[in-house]
Symmetry: C2
Subunit: 384 residues, 2 copies
């Protein structure tokens, strides 16, 4: 394909793949797109290890890293996280009623409680919200820029000047996700090179304006800065639609979750393959901010009458992350209650994700379907 | 344009325009699209008059009628509406606390209460929910089929067998709006000839699945039945995007509300021109079912702590319609509080509606922009 974004990033197709799984990142990059590793769940050491693995598997082809840098976080919690006690202090900041609700939930669904002492020791390996502090994000940015990355992205809010400055100094383009035209304007003012306009149908943290409306609005607002369309996109028809809207390419996240490479737990993958587009919900129950995810007993209960309500970010992550790890672990051994509770971030396009394919094949299928969609449009206008 | 839908309906462009305004319907039909008159607010006599006017202004070109036939309505209210007392009995079915809340709202915003005796006498002219009963809808269907219409549409739920049978006997294709693939399947089983897949970003009654996801899902579900894309579509780029998704055309409602011909009250039109895509909300406060509309003091107050909550359909319409008529009347004479309360059904694409144009011009602009979008896609694939 011939687009400015393809030339600028040295890629064949303007298809950006967000994934927490290094195998997906490498597979998409090797297939001609640009894989972007979601780094939020990693400690700096673990991220270093992942990026080294990717470097070894992409033969110099471009890939990127996405860091979650919230523009607004619970400062007292952040302070606690930075203080002497570290994560212990942050854990202590979670109100008792939230732990009680969580324990009752585990009991109701017949899920054994995790071994808290053991969990405490291994907690560092998975982050538990610590990386969402500005200190945590800075460490991840430094690790990322130590590698030959082709893009660094900020998933939430305007990237801090520090991030933009460091990236520019390293010659790495900065991308940022936005859910409104107003945010896009602010991001461009902050020095962002590539805007990802993400509609409310997207998985994970998301706003309420749909991709169909948001993309043309953002394109007009930030021109000539290139815009990638995101939110609900899992097929080549949708890629063609996005580019008809004026986008310079697409940013997909959900579609990789049911690929062969994905680390998605098998019981969650099965739920996704069976789900229709109605089976997601925008809920604060996993991170403290509205994030679209599979509807499950977990989201139902947190919205239910017995719920104390979700906490802010990052405290809700501390409550939810450890719980979900235990739920997934128990679910894999067949526990029915745990399977009811299990869920994951995914967009409404989960309804279009009905087969397991290698990530490479997803790229090829999208490009083929893109070409078919363009042919169909040409037949309509009589240009063929 | 060359599409099956164009051939089948005898139109130049597969652009269907839903409007309550006969001038818009005629203008779009005369410009090569297909205007569809929203008939829900009309009595049978008034509808007869409107359709006669359209017949006189389209020179035999095709147009359609849209009737709101709810698949599920409050039966006790419907019964009351059919009974001896008619609308009086239906009015009596509205709980006192809802009237009290409404009166307090008027007082809070400095809007004088309407003359209820006078309103009662003129009420018939505007319907006040009476047409939403099955009896009311049947009368509108009969009037519609007495004219040379090219399409009859059901805006809400599966059309009753009576409607499908009457339309087929008259040789008129039946369209139905759906918000999920499952509903689309049911509509096709009921004999519907054309599916309008309407995303959650649409104005008026709407579901939660976005146009970008819903359209390909519905297209795949009902093939080879043609599907029109609806929800958030106000530009030619979006029309091209919809057809890249597999739609056979588009169904637009919101975009006509700011045209020269539209009967939209001037203060509401001004709000729409100024609004961004963030300024709508899906609320039950006007009809009793979730319907997207401009965010205003009206929607805020009905969601607020003092609100008794919206009633079901059609009771909430009885409360809201008369109130909105008074609000609009008073707002036109400059009352600030009334202007804060005033709103109207509109999709998120209100953010893209920034100029007043003749409806004809909107059609021509969309077709031109459609062609530009296809050219842009050809440049990307290298087909030009």
């Amino acid at each position: 394909m011939r687009t400015e974004v393809c030339e600028r990033f040295g890629i064949e197709f303007p298809l950006f793949a967000f994934s927490h799984c290094r195998d997906v990142v490498a597979a998409v990059t090797n297939a001609g797109g640009l894989g972007v590793l979601g780094a939020v769940a990693y400690t700096p050491d673990r991220l270093e290890e992942e990026l080294r693995w990717i470097d070894d598997h992409v033969g110099g082809r471009p890939y990127g890293v996405d860091v979650l840098v919230p523009s607004k976080i619970d400062e007292s919690a952040e302070k606690a996280g930075r203080g002497e006690g570290g994560l212990d202090t942050m854990l202590a900041a979670v109100p008792q009623e939230h732990w009680t609700f969580l324990f009752q939930l585990f009991e109701k669904y017949g899920v054994p409680l995790p071994d808290f002492e053991k969990a405490k020791k291994t907690r560092d390996a998975k982050g538990a919200g610590a990386q969402v502090t500005s200190q945590g994000a800075t460490a991840l940015i430094d690790v990322s820029l130590g590698h030959p990355i082709g893009l660094i992205a900020s998933a939430l809010g305007t990237p801090p000047p520090l991030m933009v400055d460091k990236a520019k100094a390293a010659g790495v383009p900065v991308a940022a996700l936005v859910g409104t035209a107003e945010h896009a304007r602010r991001q461009v003012a902050a020095g962002v090179d590539l805007i990802v306009a993400q509609g409310g149908e997207a998985g994970g943290h998301t706003g309420e304006i749909s991709t169909m409306v948001l993309v043309p609005e953002v394109v007009d607002t930030v021109a000539p800065i290139p815009v990638l369309a995101a939110g609900g996109i899992a097929t080549g028809r949708q890629m063609a639609a996005s580019m008809a809207l004026g986008a310079s390419g697409v940013w997909c996240g959900s579609v990789w979750l049911t690929t062969e490479e994905a680390e998605t737990p098998p019981h969650v993958k099965a739920k996704m393959l069976a789900a229709t587009s109605r089976d997601t919900v925008r809920s604060r129950s996993r991170t403290g901010k509205p994030a679209r995810q599979l509807k499950s007993a977990w989201t139902d209960e947190w919205e239910g009458p017995a719920s104390p309500g979700a906490l802010g970010m990052p405290l809700q992550m501390i409550v939810a992350e450890g719980a979900m790890r235990q739920i997934n672990k128990v679910a894999e051994s067949g526990n029915e209650g745990a399977r009811e509770l299990a869920n994951y971030f995914v967009g409404q396009c989960v309804g279009l994700m009905n087969t397991v394919r290698p990530a490479r094949q997803v790229v090829y299928d999208m490009i083929e379907e893109f070409a078919e969609a363009v042919e169909r449009l040409n037949a309509i206008t009589g240009a063929d």
